[in-house]
């Protein structure tokens, strides 16, 4: 079992819908997350907005961020090793790294959150828009 981690910039939502155009990259990543977790591997997405702790706690990520700033995001790690910065790796590259087959038609996945505005811990609410 391998561990795949994404460290992503603060975004409205993980679909990119709240931007000026739909970002197919983010939709693709959502699909990857489903597939990889179904394949029995571990996968985590860290968003800078909701989970800044993760960016501090991970020494590698913190180092890159300090060096090159938010432009280095998204950062992709496999088992703690950096495999991509500034953009997401391709499906092929990921399949290779994780040793799984990339399927073309994923099964229906479980429900997911509405990305745009979600309440958050502590005493306020968090939202993107």
């Amino acid at each position: 079992m391998k561990k795949l981690e994404f460290f992503e910039p603060a975004m409205c939502c993980d679909t990119g819908l709240c931007g000026p155009s739909i970002d197919p990259e983010l939709l693709r990543v959502s699909t990857i997350v489903e597939e990889v977790s179904r394949s029995g591997n571990d996968v985590v997405r860290h968003n800078l907005k909701s989970d800044p702790d993760a960016f501090v706690a991970n020494g590698t990520v913190a180092g890159i961020l300090k060096e090159t700033g938010v432009d280095s995001l998204p950062i992709t790690l496999v088992d703690g090793k950096v495999v991509a910065t500034g953009s997401y790796p391709s499906n092929e590259r990921l399949s290779e790294l994780l040793g799984i087959e990339s399927s073309t038609a994923p099964e229906p996945a479980a429900k997911r959150s509405s990305c745009c505005c979600s309440p958050k811990a502590s005493d306020g609410g968090s939202c993107c828009c």
């Binding site: 603060a10 000026p20 909701s50 959150s113 993107c128």
Partner: protein, 577 residues
């Protein structure tokens, strides 16, 4: 035919421990809710009123310092007033999130987080946090007989908050943790509080939801929209209060106003059918201080305070503004303001003025096409484009869902659909359409009756930076959008004209719009104050009283705009569109 309306009766609110007042900005929610709270307190009840309206200014209403924690009102000992500024709460929340990371994460990362927490939903949710507290806190319930709110949560906020409970199972069973679930999983104790708050909102035995409007079509339409949205979520609105009814006419202006009012009420939106309806007459005074609050809802026009002298303010004319625009050579002109302040009619007049001065002008409006019929737009040099917001949104939705289907296979799209219902998505859909039109400014002067918010612009900017850095010019962001930002940032090319009314709420709202835009480095210069009674010749005592009260708002704008302030006299068609 006009619907039946009774004089407002405080007993109508009697059954409800929790009272919410909802309606478009400027209809008088604060006055109505505060007056009701005072009446209940005078009757011996222990009353709490919570204001979450950023424009409410409870200090002025009660003529005393009001704290966020609650202030007892001298002269009305049973009443406690709490003034919550959701902008401040949102800022505190934002600081709460990023504060611990200052100096630890790089500055641009901090800025990135802050921007994503600066939208209108953050403010709505910050306000909801206070609603939820007052609705669920056991101490509050025991200490007060009645709890009054001068605003109500919007449908979008409630939908967002309701959804988490449906995901409880998912949270428990899954570990994939997308970015949003990261937030939800941290929700913890809030989840239960919010769920309980939403349940109380929907409980008709405890909660009264009161729609407030003016006898003007836009505010009645807004009330109908709110009712439909809340009803979709199982929350019932019991009644409508039409505030500021003119009861008689004594001169030409008040005669026109009375006609306009009747017309608006005759064409009451169907969505308001079946509600109990109450009217509250226009008053000759500003609703500040306990004396006036006590009289405000007691019926009768109450002419006692009618002002005698109205000083005509010294304001520039729209022609001055058009001259200046023609001279400056700016080719993209936005009129910006909240709905109902007359952005479209100001845009029309600017466009016609420029065409008359020999410019080739394209007027672009987001107003529904059938309303443009009210304007005479047939003149040489002037052409008109129309952005249909509903159509743009549908097209954008279709595009999004199509892309999602292609990219994601047969996943459940419900979460995408909810995102599509957010205010920012709607704004972006429209924004894309007018980017296409602004692109024409090379050949024509473009006048547009709407402006993007700062939040949208910053979203565009960040996407653009990302695109550039990726050298990904493959068309994700349309070319017209790409060219838009540099143009908007150039004061030699772009003018943003702020349109408002000489009243408290519209001025506060306009100020917020301006600050939001300034945040993105776009300056506005000119202000247009529409519907000024003080520029007319009304002799009717009610209208003269209203005219006198405009003064403080006009002075305030004069200071903010450094004198670049245009006044447009009141006119009846402005009230019915």
């Amino acid at each position: 035919m006009q619907p039946t309306m009774d004089a407002f009766d405080i007993n109508a609110l009697e059954p409800y421990k929790y009272l919410f007042f909802t309606g478009k900005g400027g209809v008088g929610k604060t006055s109505v809710s505060c007056a009701a709270a005072v009446m209940f307190a005078d009757a011996g009840e222990r009353v709490l009123i919570v204001s979450t309206d950023p424009a409410s200014n409870m200090q002025d209403v009660f003529e005393t310092e009001i704290s966020e924690e609650g202030t007892r009102i001298e002269g009305c000992p049973n009443l406690t007033v709490m003034d919550v500024d959701p902008l401040k709460e949102a800022a505190a929340y934002r600081e709460n999130v990023v504060g611990p990371y200052r100096g630890i994460l790089p500055d641009d990362a901090i800025a990135n987080i802050e921007e994503q927490l600066s939208g209108s939903c953050t403010i709505e949710i910050a306000a909801f946090d206070r609603f939820a507290w007052a609705l669920t806190d056991a101490d509050v319930a025991a200490k007060y007989d009645r709890i009054v709110f001068d605003t109500a949560p919007t449908g979008h906020t409630l939908r967002t908050l309701e959804l988490p409970s449906a995901w409880t199972n998912y949270l428990d069973e899954n570990s994939t943790g997308t970015s949003c679930l990261g937030q939800l999983s941290g929700l913890g104790d809030k989840r239960e509080t919010y769920a309980k708050a939403v349940a109380t909102l929907a409980d008709v035995t405890q909660t009264g939801m009161v729609l407030v409007a003016r006898p003007q079509t836009p505010t009645l339409e807004e009330a109908a929209r709110s009712r439909a949205e809340l009803s979709d979520l199982g929350i019932v609105c019991q009644m409508l209060v039409v505030n500021g009814m003119l009861e008689q006419a004594t001169d030409e202006a008040s005669g026109e106003m009375l006609d306009a009012q009747e017309k608006a009420l005759e064409h009451m939106p169907e969505g308001l059918a079946g509600l109990r309806m109450y009217r509250n007459p226009l008053k000759s005074y500003n609703v500040t201080g306990l004396d006036f609050l006590r009289r405000f809802l007691k019926g009768g026009a109450d002419r006692s305070m009618a002002a005698t002298e109205v000083e005509r303010p010294d304001l520039r004319s729209l022609d001055d503004l058009v001259d200046e625009l023609a001279r400056s050579g700016r080719r993209v002109i936005f009129t910006m303001g909240k709905g109902g302040v007359g952005k479209t009619s100001v845009a029309v007049d600017i466009a016609k003025g420029l065409a008359r001065r020999g410019e080739k002008v394209r007027l672009t409006t987001t107003d529904p096409a059938d309303h443009l019929g009210n304007f005479d737009l047939d003149m040489p040099g002037l052409s008109v484009s129309h952005i249909d917001e509903k159509h743009e949104l549908e097209a954008y939705e279709a595009e999004v869902l199509d892309t999602a289907r292609k990219t994601m296979g047969n996943e459940d799209f419900s979460y995408i659909q909810e995102s599509l219902r957010s205010p920012c998505t709607q704004e972006i859909a429209v924004f894309r359409a007018f980017a296409d039109i602004v692109a024409k400014a090379d050949e024509e002067v473009v006048v547009i009756d709407t402006a993007p918010t700062g939040h949208t612009l910053l979203l565009l900017e960040s996407t653009q930076n990302y695109d550039e850095q990726m050298e990904n010019t493959g068309g994700e962001v349309p070319e017209s959008v790409r060219e838009l930002l540099p143009r908007l940032h150039d004061p030699a090319q772009t003018e943003v004209v702020i349109v408002t009314l000489p009243e408290a709420t519209p001025v506060y709202e306009a100020q917020r719009l301006r600050d939001d835009l300034n945040r993105t480095g776009i300056d506005s210069r000119w202000w247009v104050v529409n519907q000024c009674l003080s520029l007319g010749d009304a002799t009717d005592p009610m209208l003269r009283a209203r005219a006198a009260s405009e003064r403080q708002w006009i002075d305030r704008i004069r200071t903010m705009s450094k004198g670049l302030i245009v006044g447009i006299p009141w006119n009846a068609s402005g009230d019915v569109r």
